[in-house]
């Protein structure tokens, strides 16, 4: 596992099970699975074809896969998520495209070291 300061710049492609214990910034492409215990930032030109798990996330690019965020998820104007979303809190800017079931509020378990806890889902 990597620790802190991981950056995947534009033009770089990652395939496989990518995980980090720190913060991650992605402007390139990831396919497979993606998890970050810290803050995950997906740039406007990033393309993610993977299920995503993170402590917090700011998504401005495209994600094809489920998104599970422990705390706060921000989806920016240019963000596109095609998959189910689960987060404790969520903020969605006008223009963002979301296509999937959304579960917001309540505890969400995440990256790697934590077990999934069954909690009643709150639909918004």
């Amino acid at each position: 596992m990597e620790t802190g300061g991981t950056v995947i710049a534009r033009g770089v492609k990652v395939e496989g099970d990518f995980s980090s214990q720190g913060d991650v910034v992605i402007d390139g492409e990831v396919s497979g699975s993606l998890s970050a215990s810290g803050t995950l930032r997906i740039g406007s030109e990033a393309v993610i074809k993977a299920d995503v798990e993170a402590g917090e996330a700011v998504i401005a690019g495209r994600v094809d896969g489920s998104v599970t965020i422990l705390r706060r998820l921000d989806v920016m104007t240019s963000g596109q998520i095609k998959g189910d979303i689960k987060a404790e809190t969520i903020s969605v800017e006008a223009g963002a495209v979301l296509n999937g079931a959304m579960s917001v509020g309540g505890r969400t378990s995440v990256p790697s070291s934590e077990e999934n806890k069954a909690e009643p889902e709150t639909e918004t």
Binding site: T6, A9, G11, K13, V25, D27
Partner: protein
């Protein structure tokens, strides 16, 4: 003479322009009580045998006098890494003097005499130890990291760093894919270099069917596949007191 110290002089120091500085270095070493046996590099095979002989006679501190290449190119031939390594840079240009906080020329003698020691990781490339970095000029090559995922770029160049710009004893290598184009929605969260991918790792494999040319601590290695690893805290080095480890 201090029998626990030996000084390995690079062959380029025979140039007369280094004569005065070398004399001043030797004067300082003697003044500080750390002058020792001198080994002059000519052929590496001979150098390895001379180093082994020196160790048999009690040398425990091996000081490389020259430039970055003097120390880096000696790493594969050191009979053991259970030596304390020192460095006297004789040229201002270079990385290791700055990394180890060792001044150029005679002023380095004070650092040696103080004998402040730190441990550094060594990277390995196909078993060859390296101290600073391995740089690949192979667009299209991919790096497999810890058997978990693969990273590649068609345009960026790849640098695998052990020491430069990173902590020297974190037990990790750092892979950088570097592009010249400014980019990044979240550029303000990144370091100054634009288009920089950074991935810390412990072991990995670089592969390219067309072949890869790698510059490993200044030596060229060519092939289709290279395995990278880390020897954690394998090198004992004398460093300056201003080094921020």
């Amino acid at each position: 003479m201090n029998l626990t110290f030996a000084y390995v002089y690079d062959s380029f120091l025979t140039d007369r322009k280094y004569e005065r500085d070398l004399a001043n270095v030797e004067t300082e070493l003697a003044r500080l009580g750390v002058e020792g046996k001198v080994i002059r590099l000519a052929m590496f095979r001979q150098a390895r045998e001379l180093i082994i002989d020196a160790m048999r006679s009690g040398v425990r501190n091996l000081v490389f006098v020259g430039n970055d290449r003097t120390l880096q190119s000696a790493l594969p031939i050191l009979p053991t890494h259970d030596l304390t390594v020192g460095f006297i840079p004789m040229e201002k240009v270079g990385t290791l003097g700055r990394e180890f906080a060792i001044p150029t020329g005679p002023a380095a003698a004070e650092v040696l005499a103080a004998r402040r020691i730190e441990l550094f990781d060594l990277g390995t490339c196909n078993g060859r130890p390296f101290l600073v970095d391995a740089v690949a000029s192979a667009p299209g090559a991919s790096l497999s990291i810890e058997g978990r995922y693969r990273v590649g770029s068609d345009t960026a160049r790849l640098e695998i760093r052990n020491l430069t710009g990173t902590r020297g004893d974190d037990g990790k290598l750092d892979a950088y894919f570097l592009s010249d184009q400014p980019q990044g929605f979240f550029a303000r969260w990144k370091q100054a270099l634009a288009g920089e991918t950074h991935l810390p790792f412990v072991d990995g494999e670089l592969a390219c069917r067309q072949g890869v040319s790698l510059m490993v601590d200044g030596d060229v290695m060519q092939g289709e596949r290279f395995s990278f690893g880390v020897l954690p805290r394998a090198l004992k080095c004398i460093v300056g007191k201003t080094r921020q480890g």
